[in-house]
Symmetry: C2
Subunit: 192 residues, 2 copies
């Protein structure tokens, strides 16, 4: 568990063992069942998460339909920043679409951590920058690509999702109906 979070943190320049240990020590281990809801749209995100194992989905309810905005796999952090940082209600829900093991931290735990290690102060900014880029890339994929190209974009950039995420969620993720999604997949498999 510590090794995984260490690998993630190293990407952001946090590599001192005592800092990694302090981060893990200030977080709680959560064992979640597939289907468990971590955050409900309209409520407050009191925790941020690091995924040790499993898959988290970020979604919104629009006209009674769940629209999938994003998926997070092992060795990534999941933070609904606006709600978590600025105590606003969340525009998104989070649930586990696989049995998952998470490290979870509250704002209070984060503050206690930063008190001990002031140097870690600016790192939320780095996580947020990375996530901002990720969302911008996703947005660019919608602005620039056709549905078929978006499928290929997922295949190239997040191939694991195609094996682990249910088809109806993936369809929503690339902005098509499940039927169109199946047709696109079939067409691309025939081409391959």
């Amino acid at each position: 568990m510590e090794q995984q979070i260490a690998k993630y943190l190293a990407r952001f320049g946090i590599s001192k063992p005592e800092e990694v240990q302090a981060i893990v020590a200030h977080m709680d281990v959560m064992v979640c069942k597939k289907g468990e809801v971590l955050l409900q749209e309209g409520s407050f995100a009191n925790q941020c998460y690091f995924i040790v194992e499993g898959c988290i989905r970020q979604y919104q309810l629009i006209d009674g339909e769940e629209k999938c905005l994003d998926f997070f796999l092992e060795e990534s952090a999941v933070i609904v920043y606006d709600s978590y940082l600025h105590h606003k209600t969340s525009s998104y829900s989070l649930d586990c679409i696989e049995n998952s093991i998470l490290l979870a931290g509250t704002k209070e735990q984060e503050e206690a951590l930063i008190k001990e290690h002031p140097h870690l102060n600016m790192f939320t900014l780095r996580f947020l920058t990375e996530d901002y880029n990720k969302v911008q890339d996703r947005l660019a994929s919608f602005v620039n690509l056709s549905a078929e190209e978006r499928y290929r974009w997922v295949e190239e950039n997040h191939p694991q999702l195609l094996h682990r995420v249910p088809l109806r969620y993936l369809a929503s993720y690339i902005g098509v109906t499940p039927e169109s999604f199946s047709r696109i997949r079939k067409r691309l498999q025939l081409k391959a």
Copy 2:
């Protein structure tokens, strides 16, 4: 100019006159012509901008075509965070699509400012959070809405863009061809 930036900063809880004055004092006034390129994809974003007057477009070149990711109007900040904060090459270009007056600041100016006013340290995080939300909302609009609904989304959320931004840019912004964009607009005008 100071009043406009004060209004923007107040949204983020920066309201002490001496802090607002210090921010303005640490930035440069830029007068830009329509068409002027502020940042070229592949180069480094050395400055962040605050728009006093005008309109900035953020775009990418894909297969020789300019794809428009975002537009920024008066009283908003424009920062290509990843490039500006972490000295990476920018994935986006920025240009002025109107004659514009900007306040521009470099990382060095920002650091000098924070040295004088350490309390301003975490505010980039707040700007970034707001921009992150904006991009997420835009992404949600692509995931959840049809092209016609996206047009209406712009109409409701950013009505000024429809009057100020050339049609071909707007079409790219909502992910359709200029021809489709004209058809959608006509259809909606007939309905109205």
